[in-house]
Amino acid sequence: MTVTSPELVRLNGIEKHFGAVRALGGVDLTLGRGECLGLVGHNGAGKSTLMHILAGTAVADRGDLALGGEVPSSYSPGVAKKLGVRCVFQELSLCPNLTVAENARIFHPSLTGFNWRRKAGRLILDKLDAIFPGHGIGASDLVQDLPIGRRQMVEVARAFTVTDEPVRLVILDEPTSSLDAHTAGQLLGFMRRVAAEGTSFIFISHLLGEVLANCDRIVVMRDGRTVADASATAFDRDRLVAAMGDVEVHAREAHRGEGRARGKSPLRVRARPKRHSGVGELVAHEGEIIGLAGLAGHGQTELLLAIFSAAARAVTGVKVTASVALVAGDRQADGVFPLWSIAENIGVCSLASLREGLLISRRREDALAALWRDKIRIRTPDVHHNILSLSGGNQQKALFARALGSDARIVLMDDPMRGVDVGTKREVYDLIREEADSGRTFLWYTTETDELKQCDHVYVFRNGAIVADLTRDELTEEKVIQSSFAEAS
C-alpha cells in the first residue's frame, strides 16, 4: 500500500459559494504520491467544484492549498499545470474543429518549430497506443468527426502527454462514462500501472465497482463536505452507498417476474439496422423497455436516430406507430439549450399543450416544470434559473423531464445516464418502469449492464448490426460481452 508515501496535495478548509448556494463547506483533503484516491458522492455533492479548485479553474473563497510542499501564492490553471496537475473533466475540453495532433499542440506551448505537427501527432498517438491499444484514431482526424467515446479517449491520452512539464497528479472526472466496458478497462489498467510508478490520481466515478476495485483510498462527499475517508478495503458497495446518503439500499430482484407476454400489446416500433448481417430487426411493443447493448459506437445511436426521424417522415426499414421523444446522450451538444431556463428546457417538447391562444402560457410552463422538478427531484431553488446553474446530473434529469413531460408514446434514450449518480439512477429507473406500466415504450441504449437489467428485452449491436436478441431471463453480462466481441463468422 502507498499509505506511507510522502504527501503531494493538501487542501485545508476549502470553501466555495455560488451566490447563495454553498458548494463546498470547508473541505480537507490529502493525497500521497502514487496514490489512487476515489472520490464519490451524489450529483451536486461538490466533487466537480473541488476538482476545479484543485485544477485552478475555480478560485476558493477560503482555505489553503499546497502542492508537493509548495504553497503557490496565486493559483491559476497555468500554475496548476506547471506543478504537474492534469485534468480530464466531464465537459470535453478539446477543440472540435482541430485535429487530434493540433489538440495536443494546444496543450503544450513548447511544441513549436518546423516539425511541430509530426511531434504533436507522435506524442498523442504514443499515449493512445499505451492506454488504449487498438484505438483506431489517427493524428490527423478532426475531433468533430470522432464519436464521443473516441473523443474521450483523446482527452484522456492528452492529459498524460509530457513535454516540458511533469505529470504528478491526474484528475479523472467521470472518465469512463463515455467509454464502453472494454476501453474503460484499458484506462483503469493504465491508471494502476502509472500509479505504481509514482503518479497520483483522483478518480471520480459513479460506477462504484470501478472505484472499489481500482482505488487505494476512497473519500465520500455529501453536501459540500467529506463524510467518509478510508482505505478502499474498508468499504463495500452498500457501505459506500450508505455513506453517500442513499438509505434505500434495497436489493432489487426482477420485479414483474411474470412480465407481460411479448407481442400481446400493439406494435410500436419495428426497425432494421442498415447493415443486414445480424439476426435482424428490433421490435418494440407498447409498454416495453427495450435495451440496446454492445460496445459504444456500434450503431445503437444511429438506429435510435433513424427511428426518431421515421416518426416524422418515411424511412426505409423503420416503422413507427406513435409519437417519439429523444433523450440525448451528448447533453452539451444535443441536449440542453444553454441560454434557456430550466422551465423552458423542460417545456420545449410540449409547446402544443402549453399554448394559450397563440402564445406560450407562462403559468402552464411553470406548472409543468414544477411538477417534474418535484417528481424527479431536480435540485434547484427556482425553475427559472438558467439550465447551466444545475450540476451535470441534474441537467440530465431536466432532459428526462422534457421527454417524459411530452405526450410522446415512445421515448428513445441515447445512453442518457452518463455521469449520473446512483441515487438519481434508481429514481429514474423507477420512473421509467412506472411510465412503461402506464403504456409508454422505451428504447434504451446503454453501456452499463445494471441498466440493461431494467429492460424487458435486449438487443446486442456489433458493427451496425443486431447480433443477439436476449430476453430478460437470458440476459447476463457474459452474454452481452460475448456477443459484443464474437468474431463475425
Binding site: S93, C95, N97, P109, T112, G113
Partner: protein, 327 residues
C-alpha cells in the same frame, strides 16, 4: 508491434469512412468554381484564355484579400460588417496620401491595422457582440473616407499600378496572386503552431484559456490579420481601378462573408478554410459580372441573377454535405 499493426488494419475502414466526408468538404468549393467556369466556357469558349481570365478576374484579387480578412474574423466566431467600408477608406488613403506623402500614408495604414487589433481587444474585454461593434465602425470608416475624398478621384501610386499590371508568363496575374494569397493564409492559419491556437479559440475558447493561452492575444491577432488583409485589399483595389471613391468597397462586406461560407467556412466553431475562401472569392467574382454578361442578362437584372446564382451554389453545398453526413 504485431498487435499495433493488427489494430491499424482493423481501424482502416473506419478511418477511411471518417476522412471521406472531410475530403468531399474540402473539394466542394473547387467544384462550385468548376461549375461556374464550365458555364462560362459553354457560353463563350474564347473567354477561357490568358487574356480572358485577366479581364474577368481583374477584381478578384481585392475580393480574395477581403475574403481572407473576413475569414480571420470568422475563425474567432465573430463577424466583420465593416470590412467593405474599411476597404473603401484604405482605397481613399491609397489614392491620396500614399501617393502624395508616402510616409504619412504608410503610417496611416499601419495605424488602421492597430485600430483593428484594438477592436479585437474591445470585443474580447467588454464581451461586446462583434456585429454591433463592426457595424458602428463601418460608419466611422465610411465617414472618414468621405472626409478624405468627398468626390471620386485621386490616383494610385505608380508602383502599385505597376504591380497590378504585371503580366507573368503562361498564368494570368489574378490567378498567380490568388494562389499566393491562399498559400500565405493557409500557411499562417493552418500550418503554423500558433495558427492552431487561433482556430482553437473559435472552436472551444474555454479549453484554450485553460491550456494557458491568452484569449485576448488570440482575438487581437485575428483582428490584426483581418486589418492587414483589409489594407492589402484596399491597395489591390486601387491598383486595379487607378482612382478611388469613398463608396468603392461597399459591396465587399457581404461578398467577403459569402466567399468564406462558399469556401467551406462556418459562422461558428472556428471552421474555416483559407484555400476554400480564395476559391469562393474567385467563384463570386466570376459569377458576378462575366458569367451574367455572357448570359446576356440585362444590367437591371444582374444583381438579382447574381443573388440567385449565389443561393444555388450555397444550396448545392448544403445538399452535398448533408448527403455525405448521412452516407
Amino acid at each position: 508491434m504485431s498487435s499495433g499493426s493488427a489494430a491499424a488494419k482493423g481501424a482502416l475502414p473506419v478511418l477511411g469512412a471518417r476522412n471521406m466526408p472531410r475530403l468531399l468538404r474540402a473539394l466542394l468549393p473547387a467544384l462550385s468554381l468548376a461549375l461556374v467556369l464550365a458555364g462560362i466556357a459553354w457560353l463563350n469558349p474564347r473567354a477561357i484564355s490568358y487574356f480572358g481570365f485577366t479581364l474577368m478576374l481583374n477584381l478578384a484579387v481585392p475580393i480574395a484579400l477581403a475574403t481572407i480578412a473576413q475569414m480571420f474574423v470568422i475563425a474567432g466566431n465573430d463577424l466583420d460588417l465593416s470590412i467593405g467600408a474599411f476597404v473603401g477608406f484604405v482605397g481613399c488613403v491609397t489614392a491620396t496620401w500614399l501617393r502624395e506623402a508616402p510616409l504619412l500614408g504608410a503610417i496611416t495604414l499601419l495605424g488602421c491595422i492597430a485600430v483593428y487589433a484594438a477592436l479585437g481587444a474591445l470585443i474580447h474585454l467588454r464581451h461586446l457582440p462583434s456585429i454591433v461593434v463592426t457595424l458602428g465602425m463601418s460608419f466611422v470608416w465610411q465617414g472618414l473616407a468621405i472626409l478624405m475624398l468627398p468626390k471620386p478621384g485621386g490616383k494610385a501610386p505608380d508602383w502599385l499600378l505597376a504591380v497590378m499590371k504585371l503580366k507573368p508568363p503562361l498564368v494570368p496575374f489574378p490567378i498567380v496572386a490568388a494562389a499566393l494569397i491562399a498559400a500565405l493564409a493557409y500557411v499562417g492559419l493552418m500550418r503554423t503552431s500558433y495558427g492552431a491556437v487561433l482556430r482553437g479559440s473559435g472552436g472551444n475558447a474555454v479549453a484554450i484559456g485553460r491550456a494557458g493561452w491568452s484569449l485576448l492575444k488570440a482575438k487581437m491577432t485575428l483582428f490584426a490579420c483581418a486589418g492587414l488583409f483589409g489594407v492589402l485589399s484596399g491597395l489591390a483595389l486601387i491598383g486595379t481601378t487607378t482612382s478611388a471613391d469613398a463608396n468603392i468597397g461597399n459591396g465587399y462586406t457581404l461578398l467577403s462573408i459569402a466567399g468564406v461560407i462558399l469556401g467551406g467556412g462556418e459562422f461558428v466553431g472556428g471552421r474555416v478554410s483559407p484555400v476554400g475562401a480564395v476559391i469562393g472569392a474567385l467563384t463570386l467574382a466570376l459569377a458576378a459580372s462575366p458569367l451574367l454578361t455572357f448570359m446576356r442578362i440585362p444590367p437591371d437584372w444582374q444583381v438579382a441573377a447574381n443573388g440567385i446564382i449565389l443561393i444555388t451554389v450555397l444550396a448545392a453545398r448544403v445538399l452535398i454535405s448533408r448527403r455525405d453526413a448521412e452516407g
